[in-house]
């Protein structure tokens, strides 16, 4: 129970992806004040850019919608977008956190009417489609954006275009002079739910990611998404033809000492899902999955078996040695099939690299010292004296369900920290 003492009862959640959202709403619904920080303009994080979840093939936006309803209906939960942590001081029960916000150039008066986008003329890469498309420099990140508020790309600030955008807004919502701000909040506990980024496939030099028809798995999600660059049709980026011969390459970076030494856990299932995407669309599609071990743990094994049953989905136990450009520009996957010992070179319409998850905290200086493993994952909970916890992929390579589990656990730990402090 809140003890009403001098210490702060509020709990800070850093990161507004599925783990951060879950941690925040679960904490708030247990009766605590929560501050949720998200570095991008919208909540939802990586999962909001997935087409569907394995193994149910349901849409992530469905669960997000429920969570957004929970957030909207709960006055205890305050969120800040485009906000990151710049510094942390203090101790369990009484942390002072310096929050830094980057300018959105659109204030709370925005009604999301879209007049600014109509006035914008330049195009910027669409981060919500991993840069596969562009969008106007004044934009709503995507149709399910929460908060539903526009953003003005910093690239147009100081140009006549920006002035035109500002002039187009009837509600005085455009603030071209907005600058980076910092402010302090006092909280009793902190949950780090900083998530992940896809491992950079450019590092996999043997896999020719630069070829247009070699993409990574998060891009595949966008190709399959109804609001993605192809309206959900799985087409070859090179020429817009239907991608019917598709190779899915597992462990593209993961389980590899040259890249990510750990197993990213989700990629096998994600690729099985991608096989389903392709098979759902094309009767005459052939999908080849190249793998070391298919890690469909627990009841997810049923999903593995479903795909194994499809005669047009073939599993090759083989880590491809290279992907090269074929004579007609098609990607050719080369390697040794370890079961048959065939040395193969097969060409495809589309090759999807199942790149793994790298913690967002890897390679970045955190504003505070946390217990991290060699990969950059934040060890969930070390000492009882600590009021900081991790949740979701910040903690390790977890799937969505496990991320929510860990977030719910972190919520409890945070509550204990503020109650007991």
């Amino acid at each position: 129970m809140p003890n009403g003492g001098p210490n702060s009862q509020a709990i800070l959640v850093v990161g507004g992806g599925i783990a951060g959202i879950s941690a925040a709403v679960e904490t708030a619904e247990a009766g605590y004040d929560v501050i949720l920080l998200e570095s991008s303009p919208v909540l939802g994080g990586r999962v909001s850019r997935l087409n569907r979840y394995f193994p149910k093939l349901c849409h992530p936006t469905c669960g997000l919608e429920i969570n957004y309803q929970r957030i909207r209906g709960n006055p205890r939960l305050k969120m800040f977008t485009m906000a990151t942590v710049a510094g942390v001081s203090g101790e369990k029960g009484n942390y002072t956190v310096t929050v830094k916000t980057t300018p959105r150039h659109v204030n709370a008066k925005c009604t999301a009417c879209g007049d600014c986008a109509a006035a914008a003329t330049s195009e910027v890469p669409d981060a919500s489609n991993y840069g596969l498309t562009t969008k106007k420099a004044a934009y709503l990140p995507h149709e399910h954006a929460f908060p539903m508020r526009y953003v003005i790309d910093p690239s147009v600030i100081g140009t006549p275009e920006a002035d035109a955008i500002k002039a187009a807004c009837k509600y005085d919502a455009v603030d071209l002079d907005e600058t980076e701000q910092t402010f302090d909040v006092t909280v009793g506990a902190i949950i780090w739910a900083t998530g992940w980024r896809p491992y950079d496939a450019k590092n996999l030099t043997a896999y020719s990611y630069e070829l247009p028809d070699v993409i990574n798995n998060v891009e595949m999600e966008r190709l399959a998404a109804h609001d993605g660059p192809t309206d959900g049709k799985i087409l070859r980026p090179s020429n817009g033809e239907e991608a019917k011969r598709v190779a899915l390459i597992q462990c593209a970076g993961s389980r590899d000492h040259n890249h990510l030494a750990y197993c990213s856990r989700i990629c096998c299932l994600a690729s099985l899902k991608h096989a389903a995407y392709v098979r759902e669309q094309y009767a005459d599609a052939d999908v080849d999955i190249y793998y070391i071990d298919i890690r469909a743990h627990d009841k997810l094994e049923a999903f593995h078996q479903k795909l194994k049953n499809d005669p047009q989905v073939t599993f090759h136990k083989s880590k491809p040695a290279a992907i090269v450009e074929g004579p007609d520009g098609r990607p050719v996957v080369k390697g040794e099939d370890t079961v048959t010992r065939d040395v193969y070179a097969r060409d495809y319409d589309l090759v999807v690299l199942a790149t793994g998850m790298e913690p967002s905290t890897a390679g970045f200086d955190l504003p505070v010292t946390l217990s991290q493993d060699d990969y950059g994952f934040i060890v969930p909970h070390v000492e009882d004296t600590d009021g900081m916890f991790s949740a979701g992929v910040a903690q390790g390579p977890l799937d969505v369900s496990m991320s929510v589990q860990s977030a719910t656990a972190a919520a409890l730990k945070a509550i204990q920290a503020v109650d007991g402090a």
Binding site: M1, E26, E29, G31, R52, P55, K56, C58, H59, C62, G63, E65, I66, Q69, R70, R72, G73, N74, P75, K109, C113, E143, H144, M148, K170, A225, D227, G232, R255, A261, Y262, C263, E280, Q281, A283, D286, R295, D298, K299, E301, A302, Q305, K306, N309, P311, K317, V339, T340, D373, Y375, F377, P380, G396, P397, S401, Q405, A409, L412, I415, D419
Partner: protein, 760 residues
């Protein structure tokens, strides 16, 4: 509430005033007897909000109607203390999805206002149900690692806990482990078993009451006030608890069913659990002759991933065998350990543990074991050498048997149950159902769909023996795990206030299970704290409304008690339904089930939906303008329609959309009444049903389909075509499809003609 004062506030912003005649909206509001109608060019601006706030403060309005954007936005701005704001969606569903300054668009806008007023006329501020005393104690069932952790977590959060253990000692399965798999960096070596330490902590806690040799023989009541009967050595005692955490764990798969893997053929063919008993600080002595084991083979997937045994992967066996091999090699570096696997599963950072074993020289072999002889020769097909290989000269063979969930108490006899109490087990999903594919290439035959698992009763007695109308068991999935079917909401079992965690929920290792225990405790505490205030639990968290039944009208038909997805309604001895409000998740399925519309919520009812539908102005038959009523699930279909507007997708303006809590809350009467008042068609839009159902209330859309299947008779008696009523599965990602679905339906109506009842 003294007097209902309805005021309409129309917003002209975001292009609404450019596309609609605002005066006409006002006229519609007046005609529906709204107290007043005010217009503003941007209601969500500070001035706009102040305008409404002033009226609320002055007592001018009790039901402000904000006719502006979708209810999915600006909720915080239009929330005013003490009054219920009602939204009319003029932006996303009118001007953004239909042509501006068009007669039909205007009629749609007018009707949005009319419907909101009709809603305001019926809606009452919900009174929370907070009768009687509420307990804050957490009952934890199962005294193994997960249960111990759960009890300590609950205590650390300030709650009393009762920890019930079936056996005579705490510790469960894992108490026997000499070491456990690592889940902290550097993830390389087996770690000390934490269980003894947890037991000591639990025993030292003044907040935890431990009851060993005890089982739960009855569970009655509801969250906040569960009445549980705990029986110790035949003597029952009663306790009241607020929430229940089920951590009954697992048992090893019965190895006697694994004769083909040599179990029973030699004392030196042991299971991984039996091996735990042989592991100590020194080398392992084999059972038969006490000789130190120098060569050992681990047979993975012994039972797991085998349709004849356990169809699922038990998740932990690969890591467990690695742990065993490392322990044996550490104790005696001369030990040769082979692990024969099909897929080696050390996901996440456990990959490091796999490498650690390899570094120690453990040999991993990909293959399928065909037989194990009494002389311990393991014959297997080596997938990589492409050869059947007899592995001879082994001192011991370890079968890595999998996990079977203790979702029942197999030590106690099963209960005799009437058929209908089997419901939670029968309507389970089929995880092996084939995925939807576009088809097969010419000459390629589709594989046969795997047989649906037979609905069956699990062996043994129910864990909690719920005294619920819907039976004593916690609902389980097809493989017997008492898990949630939701990816984003893993704790949502179908019994409110009861949370499962650990291997009873899903095969998982101790690292994960410890966190799972904490997560389940959070949900338990959350339930305790919310039901005390009369607040609903997930997904309608905080909803104060709950179903009220007018028993005078009730026909005791039992549909509500049977159809409630959460088993919230029991039957009294006199057969009348009895709502247990804090079990209720507020979906309204009971309301949709009731044939005599006698179940309603303060702010949501069949009558309200009917009134809203009736508020729409139906053009007469000579106008040739059909009207189609869409009852759309507010969680998925309604947002999809909203997003169609955001994407500026257009669709027929002949439709009138009413959001519903869940399609399960839609009564057949809503459809038949709409048709009898002149609507030309009715669409029920909800989530995917079936094996991969996406309904947040489990079976709303499935029930709607079932109910509307029965409406055919009614339609026939009204001499109406069955095509006029359709249930559509619309997902939240269908923003670009939903318009076409609507247009196709309207075209069908055009084809079959307008409803002859118009104007009656």
């Amino acid at each position: 509430m003294s007097e209902r004062k309805i005021g309409v506030y129309t917003c002209g912003g975001c292009g609404i005033a450019d596309a609609l005649d605002m005066d006409q909206l006002e006229a519609a509001a007046k005609e529906q007897k709204a107290g007043f109608c005010k217009s503003h060019d941007c209601l969500c601006s500070d001035e706009g909000v102040a305008l409404i706030a002033a009226d609320v403060a002055a007592g001018e309005v009790t039901h402000p109607i904000v006719a502006a954007c979708s209810p999915r936005v600006m909720e915080d701005k239009f929330r005013f203390d003490g009054v219920e704001t009602i939204r009319a969606n003029l932006r996303e569903m009118v001007v953004w999805s239909h042509p501006a300054n068009d007669e039909d668009t205007q009629m749609l806008g007018d009707d949005q206002v009319r419907m909101a007023i009709a809603q305001a006329k019926k809606s009452m501020p919900p009174e929370p149900w907070t009768e009687g005393a509420f307990s804050e104690t957490v009952l934890v069932v199962g005294g193994g690692y997960v249960g111990l952790t759960a009890a300590l977590e609950a205590a650390a959060a300030g709650h009393q806990a009762i920890l019930v253990e079936r056996s005579d000692a705490l510790g469960g399965m894992s108490a026997k482990w000499s070491k456990v798999m690592p889940h902290l960096p550097p993830y390389r070596d087996p770690q000390e078993n934490p269980v003894a330490g947890l037991i000591a902590k639990v025993e030292a806690s003044d907040k935890i009451t431990v009851m060993t040799d005890t089982i739960v023989t009855k569970t009655n009541g509801m969250p906040g006030k569960f009445e549980v009967e705990l029986t110790r050595a035949g003597t029952p005692s009663a306790e009241t608890v607020g929430a229940i955490v089920v951590a009954t764990g697992w048992r090893p798969y019965d190895a006697t069913k694994l004769g083909h893997l040599g179990y029973g053929a030699s004392p030196d063919v042991v299971t991984n659990v039996e091996l735990e008993g042989l592991l100590g600080d020194g080398p392992v002595a084999r059972k038969s002759d006490g000789k130190a084991v120098k060569t050992v083979a681990f047979v993975q997937c012994a039972g797991s991933r085998d349709p004849a045994h356990l169809p699922y992967c038990s998740s932990v066996c690969c890591g467990t065998s690695i742990k065993h091999a490392i322990q044996m090699v550490d104790a005696d570096p001369e030990v040769m350990a082979y692990i024969i696997f099909d897929e080696l599963r050390t996901p996440g950072t456990a990959e490091e543990f796999y490498r650690s074993a390899q570094e120690k020289g453990v040999i991993f072999v990909k293959g399928k074991v065909e037989k194990v002889d009494g002389d311990l020769t393991v014959t297997y097909h080596d997938a990589l050498l492409g050869d059947d290989i007899p592995m001879a000269g082994l001192d011991m063979v370890v079968l890595a048997t999998g996990m079977v969930p203790n979702s029942t108490n197999v030590e106690a006899p099963a209960l005799e149950l009437e058929d209908e109490k089997l419901v939670p087990l029968k309507d389970d999903i089929n995880p092996a159902a084939p995925i939807a594919v576009a088809g097969y290439k010419e000459g390629v035959d589709a594989p046969e769909a795997p047989a649906r698992p037979e609905p069956s009763m699990p062996e043994g007695a129910p864990i909690l023996n719920l005294q619920y109308r819907q039976g004593p068991h916690i609902p389980m999935l097809a493989d017997g795990f008492a898990d949630s079917h939701y990816i984003c909401f893993p704790y949502e079992t179908r019994r409110s206030g009861i949370y499962t965690c650990g291997p009873v929920r899903r095969p998982m290792d101790m690292g994960e299970a410890g966190q799972d225990a904490a997560g389940a405790v959070l949900k338990a505490i959350q339930a305790i704290r919310n039901v005390k205030q009369g607040k609903g639990l997930h997904p309608r968290s905080g909803d104060l409304s709950y179903p009220k039944i007018d028993l005078n009208a009730c026909t005791k038909c039992r549909r509500c008690t049977v159809e409630c997805p959460f088993g919230a309604i029991d039957e009294r001895e006199d057969d009348y339904p009895q709502v247990n409000p804090s079990r209720c998740r507020r979906c309204g399925t009971c309301m949709g089930a009731c044939p005599v519309r006698t179940i309603s919520f303060d702010n949501y009812s069949v009558a309200m939906i009917n009134d809203m539908a009736k508020a729409v102005e139906i053009p007469d038959e000579f106008d040739e303008k059909p009207r189609v009523l869409i009852l759309a699930c507010r969680n998925d279909a309604y947002p999809a329609l909203d997003m169609a507007g955001i994407q500026r997708e257009t669709y027929s303006a002949m439709v009138r959309v009413i959001p519903v809590r869940c399609l399960g809350s839609v009564s057949m009467l809503n459809a038949s009444d709409a048709l009898s008042t002149g609507y030309d068609g009715v669409i029920l839009m909800g989530c995917k049903s079936g094996d991969d159902y996406q309904c947040h209330f489990v079976k709303g859309s499935g029930l709607a389909t079932e109910r509307m299947g029965k409406i055919e008779e009614t339609l026939k008696s009204m001499m109406l075509e069955k095509e006029r009523v359709q249930t559509m599965e619309v997902s939240i990602a269908d923003s670009k499809k939903v318009g076409k679905l609507i247009d196709d339906f309207v075209a069908t109506i055009d084809e079959i003609g307008l409803n002859p009842f118009k104007g009656f």
